[in-house]
């Protein structure tokens, strides 16, 4: 009786989970199916077509001809990569100092980190854009990276990480006569690998998703990123959904592939970094 009831509950739960999983996947399936259709097939109503009549790459060809996706990939990778690099380097340094060293001024300095984290990023956008204009740096990779040169969230995360490391290691390093930078670089930093992976995943996901900032600072065709290119493409092809879907597919496939290979790092990275915020 009891096991039967248990089984029924389990079956019911799987039914709910599978239904929701389908809802999650269906939009992506529909995007893929549409991208292989002709425009006429995509707007045929009687009968409504779920599948393309044959596998056609016309939409992809058109989109690839009119947009240089290699440049878009390159810009996006540079944006993501440089943001990760900046976050890891500056946040590790500051995180170690805030988490392990007691020195005058550190509390006030750390409050700046907290203030930044509490304020919505749109507050900073106009002045940041004006700085980019004054530096004559619009339409550059530097402009894309600019707001992420340092990371308040990363500093916070790394401070928590360093603060939790055991004290005896540091003492041993001190007895061995290592100075502060050496203790930081050789003894402590290697122990923060999992937090650094979490920070990288977090930084990558949010840099890749950003839309407003890249759209404002970089408007020339060869300085766009995938997200801002989609915003431009939507205006050009709106009457042709197979082409819009093909462009969207090209834009989101690399990250999805990357995600399937490194799922554990992605999910754990978000769980640890998100949970610590």
């Amino acid at each position: 009786m009891s096991t039967k009831k248990m089984n029924l509950t389990t079956v019911f739960m799987h039914a709910v989970l599978i239904a929701l999983a389908c809802t999650m996947v269906l939009p992506f399936v529909w995007m893929t199916l549409t991208s292989f259709k002709t425009n006429a097939e995509s707007i045929q109503l009687d009968p409504y077509l779920f599948f393309p009549t044959k596998l056609r790459f016309t939409a992809f060809e058109t989109v690839l001809k009119h947009n240089n996706f290699l440049v878009l990939y390159k810009n996006t990778i540079l944006l993501v990569g440089l943001r990760i690099l900046c976050a890891i380097v500056t946040a590790s340094m500051a995180g170690y100092a805030f988490g392990r060293l007691k020195f005058p001024g550190s509390t006030i300095a750390f409050s700046i980190v907290l203030i930044q984290m509490m304020i919505p990023s749109q507050i900073f956008i106009i002045p940041q854009y004006m700085m980019i204009i004054r530096m004559k740096a619009t339409n550059t990779i530097f402009a894309l990276v600019f707001p992420g040169l340092v990371s308040a969230f990363g500093t916070f995360l790394m401070r928590q990480t360093y603060a939790m490391l055991p004290k005896d290691l540091e003492d041993a390093a001190k007895i061995d006569g290592l100075n502060i930078p050496k203790t930081f670089l050789y003894i402590m930093a290697p122990l923060t690998k999992s937090s650094l992976i979490a920070l990288s995943v977090f930084t990558a996901v949010f840099a890749y998703k950003e839309l407003m900032w890249p759209m404002i600072v970089n408007t020339s065709k060869d300085s766009l990123v995938l997200a801002s290119a989609l915003a431009k493409i939507k205006g050009q092809y709106l009457a042709n959904y197979p082409e819009v879907m093909a462009a969207s597919l090209i834009a989101c496939v690399p990250m999805i592939i990357f995600y399937f290979f490194f799922q554990r790092q992605f999910i754990e990275g978000i769980a640890t970094s998100g949970g610590k915020l």
Partner: protein, 298 residues
């Protein structure tokens, strides 16, 4: 004596290296965030010409204009509507899913996790394009599947709800991951004790799960509300400026974008975004006070 000077030497070194290590971050945050925050407040009190030329001090006129601007007033209502729908649904569904997946011997846990998390790794710009097509009135899959003709994105009555549904769909997986991490720290004995007392599934959920993960729940609700108040990407990607549903759908950040970067009235744009900041701070403050009644830190 000698010991003392040694200590002061170490203290001096700590001071020196401490500041060297935090310097890039502190300088960066000052230049990128603290100065811009002050600049934005300053600009919001001025009438400005094209990007930074000719500031004229006008006091709170931008704010007065803002609250008599019908579009902005409506966008405040829209933003709150979106938040009030998106946050509770995305949090509640995610929590139920996390509880289901956290059951002992639940099969397929990691496969489900991978799938639910998928929208998190896709740019909102692409997600918006896909949904725009799914929700297309005439040719969209949803209307044709159910044989209906709803103007999901063109009817002023539905626009904001469609955007909220997409927001819920996008966030479920992210919230679920955070809840799962929290649930894994709840000892199973609590459930066994509740079962011995004859608690059913709903009672266990309300009296064991929710109180025990209340710190995570609180954290997720606060951060999701802050994020929901800043909704922009989906609306921007899904609605053209001529869309009849735009006025009843556009958010505060959408108005900010229009005012600052399309019309280029940066004083006015700054005032809009300062109002957003005040709303967010107020909501967060209320939640920090309210949490004392329901969040249990063990």
């Amino acid at each position: 004596m000698r010991n003392n000077s040694l200590r002061s030497k170490t203290a001096g070194q700590t001071f020196f290296w401490g500041w060297v290590l935090i310097l890039p971050t502190v300088v960066g945050l000052m230049v990128l965030n603290i100065v811009p925050l002050i600049t934005t407040i300053y600009q919001s009190l001025h009438k400005t010409g094209d990007f930074g030329r000719g500031y004229i001090f006008i006091g709170l006129k931008n704010y007065e204009k803002l609250f008599s601007d019908k579009l902005v007033r409506q966008s405040i209502i829209n933003t709150f509507k979106y938040t009030i729908i998106q946050v509770p649904f995305s949090v509640f569904i995610a929590l139920v899913l996390a509880v289901m997946l956290n059951r002992e011997n639940m099969r397929g846990r990691s496969a489900y996790r991978t799938i639910f998390f998928l929208p998190m790794v896709v740019a909102p710009a692409a997600i918006a394009m896909i949904w725009r097509w799914l929700l297309n009135t005439e040719f969209g899959l949803i209307n044709n599947l159910f044989n209906i003709r709803i103007g999901w994105l063109t009817d002023p009555r539905f626009g904001i709800y469609s955007v909220a549904i997409i927001g819920i769909w996008s966030d479920i997986g992210y919230n679920m991951i955070l809840f799962l991490a929290g649930l894994q720290e709840v000892p199973r004995d609590y459930y066994e004790a509740a079962e011995l007392d004859g608690a059913n599934v709903i009672q266990k959920f309300a009296s064991v799960t929710v109180p025990l993960i209340s710190p995570v729940l609180f954290f997720v609700i606060v951060t999701r509300m802050i994020a929901a108040m800043q909704v922009f990407d989906t609306i921007f990607m899904m609605m053209e400026r001529a869309n009849p549903a735009l006025a009843k759908t556009q958010s505060l950040v959408y108005r900010f974008y229009q005012a600052s970067f399309i019309v280029k009235e940066i004083g006015y744009g700054s005032a809009i975004v300062i109002v957003l900041l005040l709303f967010i701070l107020a909501i967060t403050a209320v939640q920090l006070i309210a949490q004392k009644r329901w969040v249990h830190y063990s």
